[in-house]
């Protein structure tokens, strides 16, 4: 399964781009829904709702996006594991991804649901956006280094 030559994913040249499209749509769901909570924490959108309301409404969709990513991402990895494993951008992306997921389901969730002081809300939102944007940058740079 995890040998590039014998992997059935590599039998058709359409499978990988299809996975990429699922991956892009998936991160729009995942990062987009987290982003709406972040913009609320920054006071830039959805101000008639509380951050807790926005976070609760969107949590199932964030999870749905995460499932799409954890489905398409590892399959793409399996198409050429040696390349990804050794790719510096991929390594950084995986570290940022791990941090982003942990941050999202610990500090980010607590602050969104329970609230904190405005500067603290803003700091958490900025860290969240920075981590997820970092993951996107890490993904794109895989193909360029």
């Amino acid at each position: 399964m995890f040998l590039a030559e014998t992997n059935p994913l590599n039998s058709s040249e359409l499978i990988f781009p299809a996975l990429e499209c699922i991956h892009i749509t998936g991160f729009a769901v995942l990062v987009g829904t987290i982003g709406i909570v972040d913009f609320r924490l920054l006071g830039l959108g959805m101000r008639r709702q509380s951050a807790a309301e926005v976070a609760k409404d969107l949590a199932p969709w964030t999870l749905f996006g995460l499932v799409l990513m954890l489905f398409s991402g590892p399959l793409m990895f399996s198409s050429d594991p040696d390349m990804y494993y050794l790719n510096r951008s991929f390594q950084i992306k995986m570290i940022l991804l791990l941090l982003a997921i942990i941050f999202n389901y610990t500090i980010h969730r607590r602050v969104a649901l329970k609230g904190a002081s405005p500067p603290r809300n803003a700091l958490v939102a900025c860290v969240s956006i920075a981590l997820w944007v970092g993951v996107v940058f890490g993904g794109i740079f895989i193909a360029f280094i």
Binding site: I24, F27, A28, R48, L58, F137, G139
Partner: protein
């Protein structure tokens, strides 16, 4: 063809030549394009899913549509700016690229979608809240929006899979023209 020569001129300008020549500027623009898609696409998704009645159901439609609109415009500005920068740096390749042409057609359809549904759906969100029911045309608008934007992603990703027609492209010939003397000898 005037459009083709315009594309060649655009990518030959100093700005776009420098952009194309740097190994890291192009991927930074592409990453920003995709990060914008993530943030901006998520807002489109939230709006459409609310209109379809499957997400944020406890919040008024008008609140979701109205409060995300300015942020969506900012997102569109970021995504479009990065898109134009990428287009300009490889304008001649994009001119021949079937996926890019498809993407422009879808973009035009998104424009038409906005013109058709802005007054009948998006500006009337408050009426849906008063009526307590989302009409069929609003659900149609939301479903079409999801389909069109998903097609934008697919067409966008497809652009990178088409090999540039190097036999037609001369602004960026892969090997230099043979010297004139060699041509004469032949």
């Amino acid at each position: 063809m005037p459009l083709l020569s315009f594309c060649q001129w655009v990518q030959s300008t100093g700005f776009f030549t420098a952009l194309r020549g740097s190994w890291y500027v192009y991927p930074i623009i592409m990453s920003t394009h995709l990060a914008g898609i993530a943030l901006f696409g998520g807002m489109i998704l939230a709006t459409d899913l609310r209109l379809l009645g499957v997400a944020m159901r406890r919040r008024p439609v008008a609140d979701v549509v109205g409060q995300l609109r300015p942020l969506k415009w900012v997102g569109l500005l970021i995504v479009a700016t990065c898109g134009i920068l990428m287009l300009g740096s490889k304008a001649e390749e994009y001119y021949y690229n079937a996926f890019f042409r498809t993407k422009l057609v879808i973009l035009a359809m998104i424009g038409v979608h906005a013109l058709v549904f802005r007054s009948s759906v998006y500006r009337r969100a408050a009426e849906f809240d008063e009526a307590g029911k989302i009409p069929g045309r609003a659900k149609l608008a939301a479903a079409l929006s999801l389909v069109l934007w998903t097609c934008m992603v697919i067409a966008g990703r497809g652009i990178g899979y088409i090999e540039p027609p190097l036999n037609k492209i001369h602004a960026q010939a892969p090997w230099p023209e043979p010297p004139l003397t060699a041509q004469c000898r032949r």
